[in-house]
């Protein structure tokens, strides 16, 4: 097993490179991704090595980036679209929801929408408006799409390749605040299937589920909780749609308590879905209602106060206390 240490940004870059080497039909398209290497440098050096026909600097129009990727898919190409920031995806929303998600069905399976829409998402980088959002619930609600998120460099490296190889369209959510954090990457063997959750820390008292940047925050909360005598089992959902409910249910049946962490607001969210499904599956094992720790129901705030909007270690521990103390 060959492992190497790299940042999530580099892991994504290497994953894209490997996918492009393996399949000449893989293209990259997005704003500033060629010469500049993208504003986060995820595609750094790829245009130099694969040429302008395969790494396409797009005119500035997100609807066109996704819409033309649909046409390229019909022609047999696999395009990885980069949307520069989460909050800039909405001009492409119509193409994603009305076309990307539905054309396989509409063509009775003749068209394969094997394209990936990369979305740097969630907050925590001190940015101005539209650069810190969590739009994944919109996409999770849309049948025809799959939505995944990486939380570690190893997952970034493998999940981007698995997403590119997959025949369904995938919204690939990258926690931008974790781009520069390093981790071990096993370049020989993928960790698991693209739509499987992973238990990041084994525990006994409360199951805490999250994805993207929340995973690390939950792990920090688990350290603190352990010091106070509470054992958290931490699950990285990895796939937001479909959810790996079997892995989550096994955990909740063991711990009897559930907390879900997400940066999007609660209403009609991924966390709502997880709590509802697990309550249905694990009702008789649960000793407290499942709780969600989420962003508040307000537009993403100015970044000077974003840390009080995003789920913090304190807010996660507060929810842990409440499920631990329930009925007591």
């Amino acid at each position: 097993m060959a492992t190497t240490t790299m940042t999530m940004a580099k892991a994504l870059n290497e994953g894209l490179r490997r996918a492009m080497e393996k399949d000449s039909k893989v293209l990259l398209m997005g704003e500033d991704i060629g010469r500049l290497g993208g504003v986060f440098r995820i595609t750094d050096g790829l245009q130099k090595d694969f040429g302008e026909d395969r790494v396409i600097d797009a005119p500035l129009a997100e609807s066109a980036i996704v819409g033309t990727a649909v046409g390229l898919a019909i022609r047999g190409y696999r395009t990885v679209c980069e949307i520069q920031f989460d909050g800039f995806v909405y001009p492409a929303f119509d193409q994603i929801v009305s076309q990307v998600a539905k054309l396989h069905k509409r063509s009775d399976g003749v068209y394969t929408m094997g394209l990936v829409i990369r979305l740097p998402f969630q907050g925590g980088i001190g940015a101005i408006e539209h650069h810190s959002e969590s739009p994944e619930p919109y996409f999770a609600q849309t049948a025809g799409l799959r939505v995944v998120s990486c939380a570690t460099p190893n997952d970034a490296y493998w999940m981007i390749q698995q997403s590119i190889e997959h025949d369904d369209p995938i919204i690939f959510c990258e926690p931008k605040s974790r781009y520069w954090e390093k981790g071990e990457v096993d370049i020989d063997t993928p960790p698991r299937g693209l739509f499987e959750a992973e238990v990041r820390r084994v525990g006994t008292d409360v199951t805490v589920v999250g994805y993207g940047s929340s995973v690390k925050t939950i792990l920090r909360a688990a350290d603190t909780a352990a010091g106070e005598g509470t054992s958290l089992e931490v699950i990285d959902a990895r796939s937001v749609s479909p959810l790996d409910l079997d892995t989550m249910a096994r955990s909740v049946q063991k711990t009897g308590r559930l907390v879900v962490v997400q940066e999007s607001p609660n209403t009609a969210s991924v966390g709502s879905e997880i709590v509802a499904e697990l309550t249905q599956r694990c009702f008789f094992s649960m000793s407290a209602p499942g709780l969600r720790v989420s962003g508040y129901h307000v537009p993403y705030p100015p970044s000077r106060i974003e840390d009080d909007f995003r789920p913090s270690v304190d807010r996660i521990l507060d929810a842990v206390d409440r499920v631990m103390g329930f009925g007591g």
Binding site: E31, D32, G34, R35, L36, G37, V39, D57, P59, L60, A61, S63, A64, G87, F88, Y90, P91, G126, A127, I128, E129, H130, P265, N266, T267, Y296, H297, V298, P299, P301, P302, S303, R304, I305, D308, F309, D314, R315, D318
Partner: protein, 355 residues
């Protein structure tokens, strides 16, 4: 760069030239006023860049090189006109009377707006490219229905010109003959993407295809920008419909302080444009034609320095907002989820109470 269709009233050396359709209507004091505006906004911009470098701003979008485009357009507006900016129009905001410290609130990351748009008749910044052009057309349709003699001016760039919203706003403005002027600052670069990727023809030519006039003005010539914008606004106010103005200019600085332009463009190009500096151009005219002395220019520089110092003080005094303020104005009417969030924040001890 010199294009025979480019409206120019002042050469890069600051010499007047004649144009068949336009002539400068400004007297010496008014020209000096435009010079003062440009010096001040450049100085405030440089101070803002320093503030960002010192960690006092989250981000800054420099305006250097585009002062003439913004001041010329901003000063062409009549008091009752309304303007819809993108996020770099600090010069226009200055002309509309927006206090400099209010322009920096977004960049200090303490708000997502910054000023009262009705008070200054200048809308809040729009970061998603091109969205505001449709708002401008809608506002203009309202002006039209009110029977008011007002015009609307909206700003976007060569990058945003590829967005569907901008092209749809052209369709609507033409269909409804809306009293709107589209002001495109073609600063040649959309982050790393040259304007040639956004358009294979001069951008102002697009207007003809949509059924209204387009005009290219030297965006580094404040006299030309002023006259061209003024006439387009006048036409809009009296039922002449929309105009597209392409102000041909250059972004001397980075896209924002997060950007490194050395990765994608060559110094020689920047140097060429520095020789077309919009501020020096007017200064040459003022010296030659109006015998303005160095002492007078020094006074403007001193005034700009004082404004920059005040801006610095005001920015440093902007503290972290009470987190509970995030619940203000999320809705106009009470909302149970907002109330619940406020309650939770107080219970968790994050905030003492209502802001």
């Amino acid at each position: 760069m010199i294009d025979e269709e480019l409206v120019q009233l002042l050469t890069p050396e600051g010499e007047r030239i004649t144009h068949p359709d336009y002539e400068s209507t400004l007297d010496g004091d008014e020209v000096f006023g435009l010079y003062r505006d440009m010096v001040i906004i450049r100085r405030l911009c440089n101070e803002s860049t320093s503030l960002q470098r010192q960690g006092q701003l989250a981000l800054w979008a420099p305006v250097q090189g585009q002062e003439a485009a913004q001041i010329g357009a901003g000063r062409a507006l009549a008091p009752m006109d309304f303007s819809f900016p993108s996020y770099r129009e600090h010069g226009v905001a200055w002309c509309r009377g927006v206090p400099p410290e209010d322009m920096l609130r977004v960049f200090r990351a303490v708000t997502t707006g910054g000023w009262d748009p009705q008070r200054y008749r200048h809308s809040v910044p729009t970061v998603v490219l091109g969205n505001q052009t449709l708002h401008a057309v809608g506002y203009a349709m309202g002006v039209q229905r009110d029977g008011a003699e007002e015009a609307v001016l909206t700003f976007f760039g060569d990058g945003a010109s590829s967005q569907g919203d901008v092209l749809e706003s052209f369709v609507w403005a033409a269909s409804f003959n809306a009293p709107v002027v589209f002001f495109c600052q073609n600063n040649q670069w959309g982050i790393s993407t040259p304007s040639s990727v956004q358009s294979k023809i001069p951008l102002y030519h697009r207007a003809h295809g949509f059924g209204f006039p387009g005009i290219r003005v030297d965006g580094n010539d404040v006299l030309a920008v002023y006259e061209v914008t003024k006439r387009a606004l006048e036409s809009a106010r009296v039922g002449g419909g929309p105009t597209l103005i392409e102000a041909y200019t250059y972004r001397i600085g980075a896209h924002t302080t997060s950007d490194d332009p050395t990765r994608y463009r060559i110094d020689a190009e920047v140097e060429v444009w520095k020789h077309r500096d919009p501020v020096e151009r007017v200064k040459s005219l003022l010296v030659r034609e109006y015998q303005i002395k160095n002492a007078t220019f020094d006074q403007v520089a001193t005034e700009a320095d004082a404004l920059a110092s005040k801006l610095r003080e005001d920015v440093l005094a902007m503290g972290r907002p009470d987190p509970i303020s995030m619940f203000d104005h999320a809705y106009a009417a009470p909302h149970p989820l907002v109330d619940e969030g406020r309650r939770e924040m107080v219970e968790l001890g994050i905030s003492a109470g209502t802001s």
